[in-house]
């Protein structure tokens, strides 16, 4: 599956990936050159594993909104943040606060059932919280259906609310005159850009209005969520495959439910080619229907995840070097990369919107010739 995805997302993403590769190479080179000095230091391995765990943890969803955590001298972990509701479907709806889970340290007892969170997932356990593993070290405990308001869901809610307030107030400002006021001054050119340079050229003047709501919402949603991912809040919505899958699924559904006869005709019975070729082309075209949105979801997921991993690795590097050259170098690199990530945040939103518009355009295109 990865192989044919390769050319889909590498082709237009090559530049950004190669930039990231260069950054990574640079990091490796500096790591090796400083390795001699730091190897002797005690506890260095601890820091490395701690950083790795921290990055892994950062990339996962969590049941509470923790801003940061630290370890007390007596080894106790202190989390600063607030708990969120956990909603499980396990022979009936179970709702409880995530503070009961205590970051996987204790077992939560709800209505006679015991639950424990392990690596960002909730498992059903016994009263002692024992988790059994299979050969590949995967827990074999039962996973109840989990509809919790996790950190990501909470962020999505906040972003939705934020967008509603932003664009609602922008819409209201038009009532007093032809020109927007306040935030609308900044947002209007972007809205117009999406209409004039993404929707109309790709979909056409006749049909573009049907898709504008989706295109505008998806652009601003991905952009804001990506930008939030760069803040120290530590939220990262778009590096969850579930989120990008949901977005791509919507593009897929809208494309295929609004498609006209000509679109289906081009998939199952390609006009203008010999009969035999039509039979060969049909399964390929049919596969294309699924590959197109699939490339969308992988592209967004991979770019944001890669960005987060590289950025956090370089930030972690500062603590490994513990000398002023290496740490300041890492700091400079992290700063430069953050700027790049700012660009990527907008670029990924643009690409997702652009390609969605392209697919919609193909679905409603009217072919007169052939």
């Amino acid at each position: 599956m990865h192989r044919f995805l390769g050319h889909y997302y590498l082709s237009d993403m090559q530049n950004i990936f190669s930039l990231k590769t260069i950054c990574l190479l640079f990091v490796f080179v500096t790591t090796f050159s400083f390795a001699k000095e730091t190897k002797a230091e005690a506890g260095e391995n601890d820091i490395k594993t701690e950083i790795k765990e921290y990055i892994d943890h950062h990339l996962l969803d969590s049941y509470d909104f923790s801003l940061f955590s630290y370890t007390k001298d007596n080894g106790e972990h202190v989390y600063v943040g607030f708990p969120l509701p956990v909603i499980l479907w396990d022979d009936g709806l179970k709702v409880f606060s995530s503070s009961k889970l205590k970051h996987g340290e204790t077992v939560a007892e709800v209505g006679g059932n015991y639950y424990k969170s392990y690596h960002g997932k909730i498992y059903k356990t016994d009263a002692e919280g024992t988790i059994t593993y299979d050969e590949a070290h995967h827990p074999t405990n039962v996973k109840p259906l989990d509809f919790s308001i996790t950190k990501n869901v909470f962020t999505i809610l906040i972003v939705g609310l934020l967008m509603f307030l932003m664009f609602g107030s922008m819409a209201k400002s038009y009532k007093n005159g032809a020109l927007p006021k306040g935030m609308g001054r900044f947002l209007e050119p972007i809205v117009l850009y999406i209409r004039d340079d993404i929707a109309i050229p790709n979909i056409g003047k006749k049909h573009y209005k049907r898709y504008m709501s989706f295109l505008l919402t998806i652009f601003f949603f991905i952009w804001i969520v990506n930008l939030l991912g760069l803040t120290p809040l530590g939220v990262n919505v778009t590096n969850n495959i579930a989120v990008t899958l949901a977005l791509a699924l919507l593009t897929f559904l809208i494309t295929n439910f609004t498609a006209n006869k000509s679109y289906w005709g081009h998939i199952f019975w390609m006009p203008g080619v010999p009969k035999l070729m039509r039979i060969v082309l049909a399964p390929i075209e049919l596969l294309g229907i699924f590959i197109k949105p699939f490339s969308l979801l992988i592209r967004l997921y991979a770019n944001i995840t890669a960005g987060h991993i590289v950025l956090m690795s370089i930030i972690g590097m500062m603590f490994i070097f513990k000398n002023w050259i290496g740490s300041s170098l890492s700091f400079g690199l992290a700063f430069a990369l953050s700027l790049l990530e700012l660009l990527v945040a907008a670029l990924q939103a643009y690409i997702f919107t652009m390609l969605s518009a392209l697919y919609f355009g193909q679905a409603v295109e009217e072919h007169d010739d052939h």
Partner: protein, 166 residues
């Protein structure tokens, strides 16, 4: 791939789908529709205003062309009038000159005739005068000459001499 499937969270997928669809519909009603409608109204307003300005410009140009034409005509008319007036003036002057010449000639002729008459009269008078004067002189001379015997004799003799000579 396995890691991706492991990480996949049905709950997050469900919430994302529900919240995003709700967001699209909410924003469509409360934001996108009013925003895009307002922008469209504004754009069509601007377009109409531009068209109106273009029309006004064209009208203005037409008006200016008209004005130019009228001005041209007026100028030509004035030119023609001036030309006529000039011609008339020249003609009048020429006529007047001719008239004056003729009158002058006539006057000169009359004057010459009058002068001629006067001259003749003066000549006639002069002749009379001279004749009278010469008669008087001759009378006086003769009277004087014939006042004594001697002188008479002498005259007779001289006349005789003349007569003889003849």
């Amino acid at each position: 791939m396995e890691k991706l499937i492991n990480e996949f969270s049905i709950g997050l997928f469900f919430w994302m789908l529900v919240l995003f669809v709700a967001l699209v519909f909410l924003l469509r009603k409360f934001a996108w529709k009013p925003i895009l409608d307002a922008v469209e109204t504004r754009e069509s307003g601007i377009e109409n205003a531009l068209k109106a300005a273009e029309n006004a410009k064209l009208e203005m140009q037409n008006l200016q062309a008209d004005n130019e034409r009228l001005l041209q005509e007026a100028r030509a008319e004035r030119e023609a009038m001036l030309k006529d007036a000039r011609e008339l003036k020249a003609k009048m002057i020429a006529d007047a000159e001719e008239d004056a010449q003729a009158k002058a000639n006539k006057m000169i002729e009359q004057a010459q005739a009058a002068i001629e008459g006067e001259k003749k009269a003066a000549m006639a008078e002069l002749k009379n005068h001279v004749a009278t004067l010469s008669l008087e002189i001759a009378e006086k001379v003769v009277r004087d000459e014939l006042s004594s015997k001697d002188k008479q004799m002498e005259l007779v003799e001289s006349m005789l001499v003349d007569a003889k000579l003849n």
